[in-house]
């Protein structure tokens, strides 16, 4: 009995080291190196602020990820609700005291890092719901109370994030949350019904959108509507990607980026620069790298013992998939522009922090795959 309540598992350090998922680890390292190189290119081929900052964060958060993975998955199970509610508090704090940048209030200045709690919430909501569905009885999964509680857990932060306003992150939080509901076993009928309801209510939802968000949708539907204004980003992004061709223009040779035609090339549009310089072949390889990471996480999910770990792995894998899909669709002109970073690649501490925490917990689940949680 004593053993189960101990936070530390009975594995020793070397056993844990042996249990680390090296495929995932190598993929993450490869991705990190790629992202540092691309960041170097956004700085015009010089070792400037963005590159330095990005590389430092990568190093710090990578070490942090390793530390997280050495803690028993049971510990993270314990901490899930705490993490979730702390993030909720941070979101509330942000809505009152946050830093306002170009109309949205999303950030807390922690001096060494500007924290964006909504990014953390993307992980927190998965952790929280994984724990929730770990605990809920199979019989009660489709009960009203159970679904209502789960939806409350999802939409409380979503409302806070929407109010910032930040549509992109809200969508990502909702999709991360809903996927746990789906995996947890909520009836497919419910998903279907709510999806239809959502479609019907879409026009009303749109009427509540901020003017700039509406503009983004209009621009998405026809980017040439205002080529120098709202449509500029998407047009330039498509030009950059399209002009990359099969082999790309070469490292540090992306004219669209170093001549400043690309907007937000460090953050949301990082893939555009990557794709311009490394072409179709590079983009496929990057997508392949992400796919391996997702498959690896899913496969970890399939053999872990505890429901919590399984749900988290599946949920997190799906979340990464959604981040990538939303980001790429956006820069490829398939979706309207909603702010959503490309995991690890995009400049931004909070997003990287959240992703690394996710990887850490997945790794912890792998190391402690035999750990059951009651």
């Amino acid at each position: 009995m004593f053993q189960y309540t101990r936070i530390n598992s009975d594995l020793n350090f070397f056993q844990k080291l042996k249990n680390l998922d090296y495929v995932l680890l190598v993929c993450i390292i490869l991705l990190s190196i790629t992202s540092a190189l691309v960041m170097y290119s956004t700085d015009g081929g010089e070792f400037l602020y963005h590159t330095k900052s990005h590389a430092t964060k990568l190093l710090v958060f990578f070490i942090m990820m390793l530390m997280i993975s050495f803690f028993n998955i049971k510990f993270w199970h314990h901490l899930s609700y705490f993490f979730y509610f702390t993030t909720i508090l941070l979101l509330i704090y942000v809505s009152i005291f946050g830093i306002k940048v170009s109309g949205s209030q999303r950030w807390i200045d922690l001096y060494y890092i500007v924290l964006q709690p909504s990014e953390l919430m993307k992980i927190a909501v998965i952790l929280c719901l994984a724990k929730y569905y770990h605990r809920v009885n199979v019989e009660k999964i489709n009960s009203f109370i159970s679904i209502f509680l789960a939806l409350t857990l999802i939409f409380t932060p979503v409302i806070l994030v929407l109010a910032q306003p930040d549509l992109g992150t809200s969508i990502l939080i909702v999709s991360s949350g809903l996927i746990i509901l789906w995996l947890g076993g909520v009836k497919i009928k419910y998903f279907f019904v709510s999806f239809v309801t959502f479609l019907i209510s879409l026009p009303f939802v749109i009427s509540f959108l901020q003017p700039y968000q509406k503009l983004r949708i209009l621009t998405f539907l026809n980017p040439d509507r205002d080529p120098l204004g709202a449509g500029y980003q998407i047009i330039q992004s498509k030009i950059a990607i399209g002009s990359g061709g099969f082999f790309g223009k070469g490292f540090l040779q992306g004219t669209q980026s170093y001549l400043d035609f690309l907007p937000e090339k460090h953050t949301d549009f990082i893939f555009t620069l990557f794709s311009e310089e490394f072409g179709f072949i590079g983009s496929i390889l990057l997508l392949f790298l992400y796919t391996i990471i997702i498959i690896r996480i899913v496969s970890i999910g399939t053999f872990v013992k505890s429901i919590f770990a399984k749900l988290f792995c599946f949920g997190f894998a799906f979340a990464i998939f959604v981040y990538i899909t939303v980001n790429l669709s956006m820069v490829l002109g398939l979706l309207p522009i909603v702010g959503s970073p490309l995991p690890i690649m995009s400049y931004g501490g909070s997003s990287m922090l959240a992703t690394m925490i996710g990887f850490g917990i997945v790794m912890s689940a792998k190391i402690h795959s035999n750990q059951t949680i009651i």
């Binding site: 950059a240 399209g242 061709g245 099969f246 004219t255 072409g279 997508l287 790429l328």
Partner: protein
């Protein structure tokens, strides 16, 4: 145990649903790859073009104008290297200091500095600001000496139009200057080639031949960033200099014409009587076209504009004058052609002639006595011409005048400002003045007064066509490939068995000969009006007709006073005219001279012809040798 079963059930559901999602993910990633494929492989070309369009900007530079050379290949409108001073504002640390420094070095006026400052505010910081368009060599050296402390200053060498003969050719070539909006709108070629700093023809051949002269712009291709700033130069595409144009004029004759008319208002035109090539065409006074290149100063402009001798008017082409007695060869020819008179026909000149109660005076108050045609031409007897004009009638006279090119533009296709003048007849008066023709008007038309208005070039053409035996010629100022030289045209004209026969302006050529002979008498025989200006050497001997055109009606009192020219106010003095051709034995050239308010043709205009013929005929041998037209017309 129960818990465990439930756990297994739960993870079954989770795994099953994970599988569904996995399939969905695969489809979505497949879609993304398809999109990447379509953008990067299928539409690669389109986006590559767009990306180049983004980053590559073209800068056109002013094209180099084609040179204009005279008949002998001397450049009369060329291009000169000029030194300019550019400042690139973004490279300058302290603009106010720099400008103050430049002001002391170049001694710029405060006004100029203000202008530069204003211009700077209209430019982007990386666009070069032209501080001086035309630095002198010493200024250029000074700037280069101080260059180390003048950061952001760029001495530039560029090309500018240059007229080496200053005012000699202004009325032929015109000048170039910066185009205004109208110029740009009027000419598509200018529109296409326009760049700030381009100079275009404003007048004369520079304007008419703009499209040939303008050339092709040099193009610089730069890579620019999203804000339009030049990052680096990718390519420099050399343009093409405009076509070289060779004119038919002879600079030496042109120079002499300018010298002969110095200080006077007037015009000299010289023409090859066989080819119609204009040898000289000078309108006095002229002005320096080089003054317009970098914008003329207000003072200088006012000086030109307010000059009472009107330098801005091209008197050769747009000056309208009564031909005076220079019309008499045409009147005589017309009377002969219409069989009104024969050379023996005589009129008694008593100094005046009465008609319907009106008195028509001959210039010689005492009268010339009995006059034949030859004598009347020689002494320019007005009474004789009153009489034959009366017999001829103005309508028949006009037909002859028309044939010889009066009342029509001569070089209209080259010069926009040419005027057509007029030769009146009865119809013209009814249509234009609404009143019927009066016989008295026929009489004064017969001595080149009244409604008749001619340009000097028309008189020159008229004389040329009398001199060549009465054949129509087409005057021109440009040379062409494979054109016939004077000698060839002459032979063709005389043999007259050509495929394309020359148009005859006469019914009987002997009438032309009679007129030529009487003009010979006028110059080379005693009592001829231009006898004093004759040259006896047959090499230079010429035949001509003087003319004195009244600018106002002479009142009775003035006639009685018989004032000397110098005693009359300048504006009221007669215009002096002279038309001539030579050498008489073997005619080559015709000329027309007019000196505004010069007094009588015999005293003011004819002496000029003497000097001109000497030079023209001396240069004839040289001109004959230069006929390789291809070599010049590139």
């Amino acid at each position: 145990m129960i818990k465990k079963n439930l756990g297994i059930r739960k993870s079954d559901i989770i795994n099953r649903r994970m599988f569904i999602i996995g399939v969905a993910k695969l489809i979505v990633f497949g879609g993304l790859i398809a999109r990447l494929f379509s953008l990067q492989i299928n539409e690669n070309k389109k986006y590559l073009t767009l990306s180049d369009k983004n980053r590559i900007r073209e800068w056109k530079l002013p094209p180099t104008r084609g040179n204009i050379v005279d008949y002998f290949g001397n450049t009369v409108a060329g291009n000169l290297k000029v030194y300019q001073l550019h400042v690139i504002p973004e490279q300058v640390e302290n603009f106010a200091y720099l400008i103050a420094r430049l002001q002391t070095i170049l001694q710029l006026s405060n006004k100029r500095v203000e202008k530069i400052k204003k211009k700077k505010s209209q430019l982007k910081p990386w666009e070069s600001l032209i501080v001086s368009e035309n630095l002198s060599w010493s200024e250029f050296l000074k700037i280069n000496n101080y260059l180390y402390e003048l950061v952001g200053v760029k001495p530039v060498m560029t090309i500018s139009r240059d007229y080496p003969f200053d005012d000699i050719y202004t009325h032929v070539l015109g000048y170039v200057s910066q185009p205004n909006e109208e110029d740009i709108l009027a000419n598509e070629v200018i529109q296409e080639k326009f760049v700030p700093g381009i100079k275009i023809g404003k007048l004369g051949l520079e304007k008419t031949l703009e499209n040939d002269l303008i050339g092709v712009n040099d193009i610089q291709r730069y890579e620019v960033n999203a804000y339009g700033k030049r990052i680096n130069q990718l390519e420099y595409q050399k343009g093409k200099q405009g076509s070289k144009i060779r004119i038919t004029l002879d600079t030496e004759v042109q120079k002499l014409s300018a010298k002969l008319l110095e200080g006077k208002a007037g015009s000299i035109s010289v023409m090859d009587i066989y080819t119609g090539e204009v040898i000289a065409m000078y309108s006095s006074p002229s002005y320096n076209p080089n003054s317009f290149l970098f914008g003329i100063s207000q003072d200088e402009w006012q000086l030109i504009r307010n000059n009472p001798l009107k330098p801005l008017i091209n008197k050769t082409l747009s000056g309208l004058y009564s031909p005076g007695s220079t019309i008499k060869p045409i009147v005589a020819l017309s009377a002969l052609e219409n069989n009104i008179i024969d050379p023996k026909f005589k009129v008694h000149c008593k100094g005046k002639m009465e008609l319907h109660g009106q008195t028509f005076h001959c210039w010689k108050e005492k009268g010339h006595g009995f006059m034949s045609l030859r004598n009347a031409m020689k002494q320019s007897c007005d009474t004789y011409f009153y009489e034959i004009a009366r017999l001829l009638g103005v309508d028949r006279l006009k037909k002859t005048a028309d044939k010889f090119g009066l009342g029509k533009k001569v070089l209209g296709e080259y010069f926009e400002n040419e005027k057509s003048g007029q030769f009146p007849d009865t119809k013209w008066k009814i249509n234009n003045l609404g009143r019927g023709w009066v016989l008295g008007e026929t009489l004064i038309t017969g001595i080149g007064q009244g409604y008749t208005q001619t340009t000097p070039i028309q008189l020159c053409l008229m004389t040329a066509q009398i001199a060549n035996g009465g054949y129509k010629i087409t005057p021109k100022v440009l040379t062409y490939d494979n054109q016939l030289i004077s000698e060839q045209v002459k032979r063709a004209m005389l043999s007259n068995n050509n495929d394309k026969p020359f148009e005859k302006l006469f019914k009987e050529q002997k009438n032309i000969k009679i007129v030529q002979d009487s003009m010979f008498g006028s110059t080379n025989e005693l009592r001829g009006t231009s006898y004093k200006s004759r040259i006896d050497d047959p090499k230079y001997q010429f035949a001509g007709k003087t003319g004195t055109a009244q600018v106002k009606r002479i009142s009775k009192r003035e006639r009685e006073l018989d004032l000397k020219t110098s005693q009359i106010p300048y504006e009221e003095r007669d215009h002096a005219l002279y038309v001539a051709f030579g050498p008489y034995k073997n005619p080559r050239y015709s000329l027309s001279i007019i000196v505004e308010h010069g007094g009588s043709g015999s005293s003011a205009a004819a002496p000029i012809a003497t000097k001109l013929f000497k030079l023209i005929i001396d240069r004839h041998e040289l001109r004959k040798q230069v006929f390789d037209f291809k070599e010049f017309n590139i």
